[in-house]
């Protein structure tokens, strides 16, 4: 059976920042699906999308890829398949 992984504090802090920005993106996406002409919301969306990318670049340099199938770059050796998985932290 898999073990719970204790990751450094910076892992949880960075991850939480990503979760916060990505939550804004989910929320704005659903909102824009029914309010497609709201320019302010679209500006907020693009700003948050930019911040999310920046945060994920920082995270991935320290803790490996967040996404598979080429949406993140790989280190050597292949580290996509490495634990921890989200339910293990």
């Amino acid at each position: 059976m898999t073990q719970q992984k204790q990751m450094p504090d910076s892992y949880y802090q960075l991850l939480e920042q990503i979760q916060a920005v990505d939550f804004v993106l989910v929320e704005l996406t659903l909102y824009l699906d029914t309010h497609p002409d709201d320019l302010d919301a679209i500006k907020q969306f693009n700003q948050a999308a930019y911040e999310s990318r920046q945060l994920k670049n920082t995270f991935e340099k320290q803790f490996g890829p967040l996404m598979q199938f080429g949406q993140s770059f790989s280190n050597y050796p292949w580290d996509w398949k490495e634990a921890p998985w989200p339910w293990q932290v």
Binding site: M1, L15, L30, H35, L66, M67, W87
Partner: protein
């Protein structure tokens, strides 16, 4: 297609091993108004819903899979260290003899998930009202689990999920209005 991202939508922490709470949470894993039902319901309806609201069904359906993963994480973390005796005590004896510690798509009473939980009428208004009802039922279920749970970490995550159901319901209401407007415009011209 879909891309997996190695993170939960919102953090899931548990205070301690608590298989009894896990047993109740299974309702939102494989129950009628649970997250699996929600994801499959919306993603299936999107093929025949008018273009104006396909995006919304697509995106809410996708978010539901993130919620399914959060519920799975709660159940996994609440049961992974439980002994067989503790599982029996929590009422999960029948689950244990069939599945050990594995998760399974069933409701809190042990009935396996079934496609009869979801509808697809092909009538956009009927489908969207079904979706609104599903969101309100999921919201109510989350409230009742929160009412009987005393794990503050789990309750924090459950409150996040409860609020998401409220937002989804609101967006589906707006989708109904968008379609009604479009229908009325067609009648005028």
């Amino acid at each position: 297609m879909w891309y997996y991202e190695k993170k939960l939508q919102y953090p899931v922490k548990v205070s301690e091993c608590n298989p009894r709470l896990a047993k109740y949470l299974i309702e939102q894993y494989g129950g009628a108004d649970g997250e699996l039902s929600a994801a499959l319901r919306y993603l299936n309806q999107r093929y025949t819903i008018p273009d104006k609201v396909v995006g919304l069904l697509n995106d809410i359906g996708t978010e539901e899979f993130a919620h399914l993963e959060m519920i799975a994480t709660m159940i996994y973390k609440l049961t992974k260290d439980a002994t067989p005796e503790q599982l029996v005590e929590a009422g999960l004896g029948p689950h244990f003899v069939n599945h050990d510690h594995a998760l399974y798509y069933q409701n809190a009473a042990g009935s396996p998930w079934t496609a009869t939980y979801i509808q697809a009428k092909g009538d956009p208004i009927a489908d969207l009202y079904e979706d609104i009802a599903a969101e309100e039922k999921a919201r109510a279920t989350y409230q009742w689990i929160i009412d009987i749970s005393d794990d503050p970490w789990i309750n924090d995550s459950l409150k996040f999920l409860r609020e998401r159901e409220i937002v989804h319901s609101q967006r589906f209401h707006e989708a109904v209005e968008i379609l009604k407007e479009e229908r009325d415009r067609k009648k005028v011209f």
